[in-house]
Symmetry: C2
Subunit: 247 residues, 2 copies
């Protein structure tokens, strides 16, 4: 066979090697604020600096590599990992972005519900959920990757039901609204939000239950919902007042 001859003679080392890493922008919400998972690097380059969790891709698929790194950093059980939404964010391969060699990084974006505080992983001293307001200097071009991840997250809340990935299995409309408030950094109108969520087909479905108690500062018991079967929100739930970002 022509083709198999070619493959036998093919030398995979003929090109400059490139390393491929999978890094993760993992977002969650704690205390009503958006947090990102950061690790402190235990090895050069950028030893001691904060960075996105990630690691080299070996034999596995890109997304598997990302899931593996995330599970390592957060000591997540497989069952927990199921509840985390993971999607590809983008790929960053500018020459010189890693001083060691040419590294192409495939970034993934993860939306997680509440998770316990992580333990340190293999190549990191520490991994912590960090509020976004306390932005730190990040290693490599991770600040740019984080920015891209935030913009993607903000945008995805508009036209997908992914906000439900940030809350528990059963949730109230107010908890869902808190997700939007945190990610968009805007206070949404409770009444209109309530109407909107219930009017979008497939966004949430009722469980028939309510919370056991009212809120910590009073108020009636809230009805509980679970995620519906919609893949897209239609009509979308648009961010208010983006006049400035439009041009």
């Amino acid at each position: 066979m022509d083709e198999s001859d070619f493959l036998a003679a093919y030398n995979p080392r003929a090109f400059d090697p490139m390393a491929v890493t999978a890094d993760i922008v993992a977002l969650t919400i704690r205390d009503g604020r958006l947090h990102v998972l950061l690790v402190r690097r235990g090895e050069p380059p950028f030893r001691g600096a904060w960075a996105l969790p990630g690691g080299f891709v070996r034999e596995d698929d890109l997304e598997e590599a990302a899931a593996r790194e995330l599970a390592e950093e957060t000591s997540l059980s497989p069952a927990d990992l199921d509840r985390v939404h993971l999607e590809q964010l983008g790929t960053y391969g500018k020459p010189g972005r890693d001083p060691r060699m040419r590294v192409v990084t495939v970034a993934y974006l993860a939306f997680a519900p509440w998770l316990p505080d992580p333990k340190a992983g293999s190549d990191a001293d520490a991994a912590v959920w960090t509020p976004l307001t306390a932005t730190r200097e990040l290693a490599f071009d991770h600040a740019k990757i984080l920015d891209d991840g935030l913009e993607r997250a903000r945008s995805k809340l508009e036209y997908t039901p992914l906000a439900t990935s940030f809350v528990g299995e059963e949730f109230t409309i107010s908890e869902l609204r808190a997700v939007y408030d945190a990610v968009w950094e805007e206070q949404l109108h409770p009444g209109n939000f309530h109407r909107k969520v219930l009017s979008v087909p497939g966004f949430v479905e009722s469980t028939g239950l309510t919370t056991e108690r009212g809120g910590p500062r009073g108020g009636p018991r809230a009805r509980l919902y679970r995620k519906g079967d919609a893949k897209y929100l239609h009509p979308a739930l648009l961010r208010p007042s983006r006049e400035d970002e439009i041009r």
Copy 2:
């Protein structure tokens, strides 16, 4: 220095090498139909099969590599290349997708206005604009990449002014509508489309001119517009009737 010692001792060949390619889903509109640029492979693997244009990433940036490949395949002048919108689509790295070795492909999506028929590039017998209706079997996982590119294109027309990348410098509202018709495969209402385009701030701006003649089958001269300064369409121009795709 600790860090420079580390870098000096670092062996870039310690990992299995991975090749990185940049492949392109280049779309344009001809005769009112959406076309994609395909090449016929001149070398194994998949010799003789149709594939997306692309090639290995060498010293350059990923996007530069994509632009270089696109320019090669289409024999585009730098001035023409300026008018082509290029954005990253996604990265495909499943083990085994290339029989030669582990190949990670960063796919780019290009929107081009009318371009001349391409000549064959270096590693391809032929490159042709192919109507999407005549879908062929594609090499590797390029069918999936193409599908993802189409979905991205359809979606981007909704909330960005990228439809203007498919038409010339000056265009009529009807030409713009033809872009939407072709990409969405729907006949939009001419009156409502006209109202909508003119009412979205920054989508198009008037040139004050009109076409020299009416259409080939009659009708009045149309006013000419150029691209406005909006980065996003607000409110967006949503696809009609996606009820089926929502869940």
